[in-house]
């Protein structure tokens, strides 16, 4: 039984998120060190300002400035900060109801330890040195014993208001292909293409999927297929796909290896692209260090009859 294969998988993208007017005002306000809330029809001030009233679903847009000082309504001590979190050193997560607001904002509190934190304590915003119009313009909160700060009555209008944020996000995974695929990959390292047969319908699946998709039972019997096969259908690719180091145009084909009951996909090489045809007989070409065949080239045999492969399109 080959050892379990594992490989890292990172899902990462710098998401570009456009914002609505209330969000734009709030986040631009943070850049300018002004904290804005939004007032609902029944007179509550929501901070952070959401676009739609959680109670009535109405769109809300009456902005009102609140103070950068407030009260902790609950907290949790985070002694081991994780990637992306507001501080690198241990801190408290807090919900803070800023003076003038009726709801609380989630953020981090920089305090020496859990004993220095309690519900009801007074805190104030510590602004980030560099601010771009994002929730992280609040670097964190810090303990504050002074009087509640008085808002200046800002209207919520700003020159050069932001229209969006960039929110890069990366998540790391360790991917394991599972039993059937691991066996397939193991055989590939010996330049053998090995599928699995369904015990019920007897079809040979390449690459094996662990389950026969029509019967819903586990496949297990290893069956070597190929090495030769037939091009059942194909297309000529004229646009270079990202991250692929293949010169265009190239032929992307479905290839039914001898003994397999469905076609797998591969590139056709060793023949001018406009001479590739359905029924062409091909064989794999392996390169040093490649996990999969680099491409398939003509074997020189006569083309397969359409009837022989029409079920394998």
């Amino acid at each position: 039984m080959p050892e379990v294969l594992k490989a890292p998988l990172a899902v990462e993208f710098p998401f570009t998120r456009s914002v609505g007017p209330v969000q734009s005002a709030f986040l631009t306000g943070l850049r300018e060190r002004v904290v804005l809330g939004v007032r609902t029809r029944d007179g509550r001030t929501l901070v952070p300002p959401v676009e739609y009233d959680p109670v009535t679903a109405e769109e809300i847009h009456d902005l009102v400035e609140v103070a950068p000082t407030g009260t902790v309504t609950t907290w949790a001590w985070n002694h081991e900060p994780r990637r992306g979190q507001p501080l690198d050193t241990p801190f408290a997560w807090v919900l803070v109801r800023l003076d003038g607001a009726d709801t609380a904002l989630l953020h981090a509190l920089d305090a020496p330890g859990p004993d220095a934190v309690r519900t009801g304590m007074r805190v104030r915003v510590r602004w980030a040195e560099e601010r771009t119009g994002a929730i992280t313009d609040i670097g964190c909160f810090e303990p504050y014993e002074g009087e509640p700060a008085q808002p200046t009555g800002h209207t919520g209008e700003f020159a050069d208001a932001i229209t969006g944020i960039v929110a890069p996000a990366r998540l790391d995974y360790t991917y394991s292909p599972g039993r059937a695929q691991s066996a397939f990959i193991h055989a590939l390292s010996g330049r053998r293409t090995v599928g699995e047969r369904c015990p019920s319908c007897r079809k040979v699946y390449v690459p094996p999927r662990g389950a026969c998709p029509t019967c819903g039972v586990a496949t297990a019997e290893q069956v070597e297929v190929g090495p030769r096969g037939t091009v059942t259908t194909y297309c000529i690719v004229n646009i270079k796909a990202k991250n692929l180091d293949i010169e265009v145009p190239y032929v992307y084909a479905h290839i039914a290896l001898d003994g397999a009951d469905l076609a797998l996909h591969g590139r056709i090489g060793g023949i001018p692209y406009d001479q590739v045809r359905m029924g062409l007989r091909v064989e794999p070409v392996w390169t040093e260090g490649g996990r999969f065949p680099d491409h398939y080239r003509p074997t020189g045999e006569p083309d397969a009859e359409y009837d022989a492969y029409k079920e394998l399109l």
């Binding site: 379990v4 594992k6 998988l9 998401f15 998120r17 914002v19 969000q23 986040l27 929501l46 901070v47 952070p48 959680p54 109670v55 309504t73 609950t74 907290w75 949790a76 001590w77 985070n78 002694h79 994780r82 990637r83 992306g84 979190q85 507001p86 997560w93 919900l95 109801r97 709801t103 609380a104 904002l105 989630l106 981090a108 859990p114 519900t119 929730i135 992280t136 944020i165 929110a167 996000a169 998540l171 995974y173 360790t174 991917y175 394991s176 292909p177 599972g178 039993r179 059937a180 695929q181 691991s182 999927r209 662990g210 389950a211 026969c212 998709p213 029509t214 019967c215 819903g216 039972v217």
Partner: protein, 348 residues
């Protein structure tokens, strides 16, 4: 309205990791399990519905591969929710109510082991105001736990007792991941200790639903769904009262949970503190057996854990250990969305 029952339930032995198996390889034995229990084959099933999340394992469209385990040939009537399987069960229940099908296969699976589930779940949060701070799922639950402590609704010893009871009960559950005596441990995000948090693991579950007389054909003592409902609250944590769960209460009310007492409640409370909230919201007295399976504190395959609560509650009825049970499932930060099902067995 038609009577609809759970007539079969199966789950994997939930483990820390299943790296030697793909998702469909992990799921398939469970599908076979419920089909064997009922003697049904895939073509006999009227509707199939599953729950899973692409984000959990970092794979888009992962559920399309899981379908291979069902054997969808000839083509089947099938749907999928990107939610816990409890909601897939809800969709299947609705389908059976229309009369367009008499039986349904519901399944759910989740591998938390490939990624860091605490961080993956941050992607559920408000993308503008909260997600950029990466507050992990334990941190959010801890904020809720502290609010409960501040309100005098619980304390650390009480939370530890919930954890200990759950894992002690799990010794009778061969599928559970954490069984027996488990140290309460150090703070993970205070006030929550490692013991207050669910284990991270992989698993799958499946259920068969059947309507009316069909249910009696397939199961000696069907677990009838007397009511099922789900409700969602506002997203912002700072807008909600974290010590209560109005959506769980409302769902329970609509599902008829308060009409008569239940003997058992399977609660999808991955954190000890959340059991405290739910007991209150669902008005569960000390005479109710809560999480006899051990609950999510003993096994928490994300995306299947809620379906498993419904399955466990049904299994208790199937075995004759329970007559009227409440099953609960949750989704989102700090119990933002809740589903409640009320199950009953025929009078004995």
């Amino acid at each position: 309205m038609r009577d609809i029952a759970l007539v079969a339930f199966a789950q994997t032995a939930h483990r820390r990791t299943s790296e030697e198996l793909s998702e469909v390889e992990m799921l398939m034995p469970v599908l076979h399990g419920v089909l064997e229990q009922t003697g049904l084959k895939t073509p006999d099933i009227g509707f199939t519905c599953s729950g899973s999340s692409d984000y959990l394992a970092g794979r888009a469209f992962s559920f399309t591969l899981a379908l291979d385990g069902v054997g969808a040939w000839p083509p089947i009537s099938e749907s999928h929710v990107e939610m816990d399987g409890a909601w897939a069960l809800y969709e299947a229940w609705t389908k059976l109510l229309t009369g367009e099908a008499d039986t349904a296969l519901v399944y759910a699976y989740g591998k938390s082991s490939p990624g860091s589930v605490r961080d993956v779940l941050t992607r559920q949060l408000d993308p503008y105001y909260v997600a950029p701070l990466w507050p992990d799922s334990v941190a959010l639950a801890a904020l809720q736990a502290q609010a409960l402590i501040d309100a005098g609704a619980t304390d650390e010893p009480a939370l530890a007792a919930v954890a200990a009871r759950s894992r002690a009960d799990a010794t009778a559950n061969s599928h559970a991941q954490l069984r027996g005596s488990v140290p309460q441990g150090d703070y993970l995000v205070r006030p929550l200790r490692t013991g207050d948090c669910p284990p991270i693991g992989d698993g799958a579950a499946a259920v068969v639903l059947a309507a009316g007389e069909r249910a009696r054909d397939l199961c000696e003592r069907p677990a009838w769904i007397r009511g099922i409902d789900h409700r969602i609250e506002a997203h912002g944590l700072g807008v909600r009262d974290l010590t209560d769960s109005p959506s769980a209460r409302l769902a329970a009310e609509k599902a008829g949970a308060f009409e008569r007492p239940v003997d058992t409640a399977e609660l999808h409370a991955p954190f000890t503190s959340q059991e405290v909230v739910l007991r209150k919201a669902l008005r569960l007295g000390d005479d109710v057996r809560v999480n006899p399976s051990g609950g999510p504190l003993a096994a928490n395959p994300v995306m299947a854990a809620g379906l498993i609560r419904i399955g466990e509650a049904a299994a208790g009825i199937h075995r004759g250990e329970s007559d009227r049970a409440l099953a609960h499932a949750t989704s989102g930060p700090c119990l933002q969305q809740n589903l409640v099902a009320v199950l009953e067995g025929d009078p004995r």
